[in-house]
Every structure is written in structure tokens, then in C-alpha cells.
């Protein structure tokens, strides 16, 4: 039985009006939702509020971090040795490949320079670690421990070791929210590495599944094709792996084929991700771009 304290509602007589307060607060909530979702006016408010929330999120994350630290520091010797050997072997292999890539990158850069376009080369990388904090269970978002203080910006590409992880959707002072490519709200322009076919990969809400809804029945796409970013849209740089096609179903009567793909990044297992800054396309000609963009703007204002 719920215990009653002395300040209960009076049984007889009138109390403070409840309805008015309810209506006022309900209207306030709806106004907040509209301002936040429809107009995006509340970036400042949200980032101020998240300064309050961040310590709590950090506090939730802390025991998990300590546990990870403890378990890794008590790892036994033989396991560490085995791990070390494996890593050395992998590093050797990676170095071998890198030698080849260094030459290729040089060549690529020369070719791009000829075309006056050097987009898509990573300039600076920052490792962000994912906080052990559960955001909305029905959306694929994570919180990383780097924010605007580290130069993180909205729309920034986030990678893991094996491919595109997602993009930054909200930046706070010391943390940032990342939307994963598997979020049902997320779509990413991709291209088949084999055939060059361009399409869009849409998240499904399942971390192991992307869907390609706009592939026509007769288009050239096979199971096993690697999908890479196209660079179209200006958010993701060109040429990074996104997913591998796992299923192509063609019904001759339909316009579009049913195509599924599995992200190459380990969306549900990563603890650390890479926040990447890319060389801005045509770094030395922004003035030109601004000049070409200026006339229509001026025309609009007049």
C-alpha cells in the first residue's frame, strides 16, 4: 500500500487548478517538439542541456570502462603472447600492402592533380571511443566521447577499421551523437565496385542489413559485389567500403529488384571508431566556388 505523506490532495474542497498546469506543460512540450524537429531551432538549448547530461552519461559509462580495463590488465600471459604474434603477423602483411598502396596513392594523387581534384584523401583522423550508454533502443545511434571541443562537426564521416560506420548527427561540447548507416532513417549513396552501378543503400534498423530499394530488375548487380561510397551528396568521401551485397532477387514482373547488403563495418561490436577529416575538394579554389554560388543568392535577395 502506498504510504501517504501529510501533503495529500484535500478530499473536500478545491485544490490548485491541475488542468491549467497540464495544458500549459503539454503545449510547451509540443512547442518544443515542433521547434526541435521541424525547425531545428534548439541546437543551442540542446547543447547546453547536454552539458548537464554528459556527467551522468560519463558516470554510466565509467564502471564498464573500469571493468574493461581490469579484465584486460589481468589477461594471462599466454593469451597476450598469442595476440601479440597474431598482430605482428597482421602488421607485416599490412605493411607489405601499404608499400604497394603508397606508390598507388602517389600515382593516384598525380592523376587527380592533373584533373585538379584531390578530394577523398584523409587528412586527419581522431579515435573516438563509444560510450557505454544506450540511447533510444529503436534507433541506431551511439555517443562518442569527442565533441566540438575536438573539432568534430555535424555530418562528419565516421569509419571503423573495415568501412563506413556512420556520420555525426549532433555535436555537443564534449560528446557527439553518431547515426549508424543501419539506422532506419539513414541513406547513403553507393556504387558497385565491380560494375560501377550507382544507387542508394538505406538502413533497415538491423545492424547486419542494408537495403537497396532502387535497383531496377535488369541492372548489373550480383551477390558478393562490394559497395563503396560515391562521394555524391558531399557527406561521405569517395571510395570507402560500405557493404557487401548478400541477396539479389529479381521478379521479372516488378520494376525493382529486392537487394540486401551486409555492412562491412562491425556496427554492433565496435568500441572505438575513427572520426575523419578529409581534404576539402579543390582546396585552393574555394573563392571560385563562392563566386559561382554568389550570383543566384544575390538574385534571390534583390
Amino acid at each position: 500500500m502506498v504510504e501517504l505523506s501529510h501533503d495529500s490532495r484535500p478530499i473536500i474542497g478545491r485544490d490548485r487548478p491541475l488542468g491549467a498546469a497540464f495544458v500549459a506543460l503539454a503545449v510547451a512540450s509540443i512547442a518544443l517538439m515542433v521547434a526541435d524537429h521541424r525547425y531545428g531551432h534548439l541546437e543551442q538549448v540542446r547543447s547546453a542541456l547536454s552539458a548537464v547530461a554528459y556527467p551522468l552519461q560519463r558516470a554510466v559509462d565509467f564502471p564498464f570502462r573500469v571493468w574493461n580495463r581490469l579484465t584486460s590488465s589481468f589477461a594471462d600471459r599466454s593469451r597476450l603472447r598469442a595476440e601479440n604474434l597474431e598482430l605482428t603477423a597482421r602488421l607485416r602483411l599490412a605493411n607489405l600492402q601499404l608499400q604497394r598502396f603508397a606508390a598507388l596513392e602517389d600515382e593516384n594523387r598525380r592523376l587527380r592533380d592533373m584533373r585538379e581534384n584531390s578530394a577523398g584523401i584523409a587528412e586527419r583522423v581522431l579515435v573516438g571511443s563509444i560510450l557505454n550508454v544506450e540511447l533510444d533502443p529503436f534507433r541506431h545511434r551511439v555517443l562518442v566521447d569527442k565533441g566540438s571541443a575536438d573539432g568534430v562537426f555535424k555530418g562528419q564521416t565516421v569509419l571503423d577499421a573495415d568501412g563506413i560506420f556512420g556520420q555525426v548527427s549532433q555535436v555537443h561540447a564534449r560528446s557527439a551523437e553518431v547515426i549508424l548507416i543501419s539506422d532506419a532513417e539513414h541513406a547513403i549513396p553507393v556504387q558497385s565496385n565491380r560494375s560501377g552501378l550507382r544507387t542508394i543503400a538505406v538502413g533497415t534498423g538491423d545492424p547486419d542489413l542494408l537495403s537497396l530499394p532502387f535497383v531496377t530488375v535488369e541492372s548489373d548487380l550480383k551477390t558478393g559485389d562490394l559497395l563503396i561510397t560515391t562521394g555524391i551528396g558531399g557527406v561521405f568521401p569517395r571510395g570507402y567500403p560500405v557493404a557487401e551485397v548478400t541477396r539479389v532477387e529479381r521478379d521479372p514482373a516488378a520494376t525493382f529488384a529486392v537487394v540486401d547488403a551486409r555492412p562491412t563495418a562491425h556496427l554492433d561490436r565496435d568500441r572505438e571508431v575513427l572520426l575523419v577529416w578529409f581534404e576539402t575538394p579543390q582546396a585552393d579554389t574555394p573563392a571560385e566556388g563562392a563566386a559561382s554560388a554568389a550570383p543566384p543568392v544575390a538574385g534571390e535577395t534583390e
Partner: protein
């Protein structure tokens, strides 16, 4: 009287903060869909025991803070919390007299309304998830209610 009032307020906010922590702490996959809304249950409990101290503004702020913590559209949980708080205020005198099972059933009704508000506003803002497991917290919250009452009574008695 004043100091006990203040300590009571602190206690109310402390329990809500605990509930908010439980709302974002990662749980094992098998139990995560059952995650109960402890913050909301705490709000309901305090409204039933002392509706003057735990008013609508208290519930609203708790909901708003949950929005911020989860990075959702601001106002979503706030609206759900304030609606549930309003109903709990209206039903307060009656709900207190209910036997515990009856009370748990009523709380499940309130939780269902809350989750419907979240579901609805989720749909309006463009990310409706329609799986049946989004309603599981209603069940777990109802099952948890007797425990909340027991814990709350202990806390309230010690704090008196």
C-alpha cells in the same frame, strides 16, 4: 518543516536520477527490450504519496531530462511524463486505496498511455518502429510496481 520539505524534494530528484541512469545503462540483449521505465514509476509513486511536492512541473522536467539523455526530439518524453502525471494526480485519491494488484494494473494502464504517446510522436517525427516488443516495458513496469512501492515506502519512512 522547511528542511524536511527540502530533503524530500532532494529524495524525489535522487530517485528520478537513479531511474534515468537505469534508462541509459546498457543491458544484455535478452533483457534490454524489457527495460522498465523506472524514472516514470518513481514519478508516479511520489505523486501518489505527496502530490503537492511532486507536481506536474517535476514530472515534466524529469521527462525533458530523459529526452536530453537519449538524444531524442526534445519534448517527447516530457509530454508522455506530464500526461501520465496529470492522470495520476486525478486518480491519486482512488489509486492509493487500491489493493496492490489492482494498483499495478492501473499503473500498467498509465504506462501503456505513456508508450502510446512515445510511439505516436515517434511516428510523427518519422521513425516509427512498429514491432510488438516496444510494448514490453508496460508489462515489466507493471510487474515491477510492487517492488517500487516497497522500496519507496521504506525510503519515505526513513525520510520522515
Amino acid at each position: 518543516m522547511r528542511s524536511s520539505d527540502l530533503s524530500r524534494r532532494l529524495l524525489y530528484w535522487f530517485t528520478v536520477a537513479l531511474g534515468l541512469v537505469l534508462a541509459i545503462v546498457p543491458l544484455p540483449d535478452w533483457i534490454a527490450p524489457l527495460r522498465p521505465d523506472v524514472a516514470l514509476l518513481a514519478v508516479i509513486y511520489w505523486i501518489l504519496t505527496s502530490p503537492r511536492t511532486a507536481g506536474l512541473g517535476y514530472a515534466w522536467l524529469a521527462g525533458l531530462f530523459l529526452d536530453v539523455l537519449r538524444g531524442m526530439t526534445l519534448g517527447q518524453h516530457a509530454l508522455g511524463f506530464v500526461l501520465v502525471a496529470f492522470l495520476a494526480h486525478r486518480l491519486q485519491l482512488r489509486m492509493r486505496m487500491f489493493p496492490i494488484l489492482h494498483q499495478a494494473g492501473t499503473v500498467m494502464g498509465l504506462l501503456a498511455i505513456y508508450h502510446f504517446v512515445i510511439f505516436w510522436t515517434d511516428g510523427l517525427t518519422g521513425h516509427g518502429y512498429t514491432g510488438a516488443d516496444r510494448w514490453l516495458p508496460v508489462l515489466s513496469g507493471g510487474l515491477l510496481w510492487p517492488l517500487i512501492v516497497a522500496a519507496g515506502d521504506t525510503l519515505a519512512r526513513r525520510n520522515r
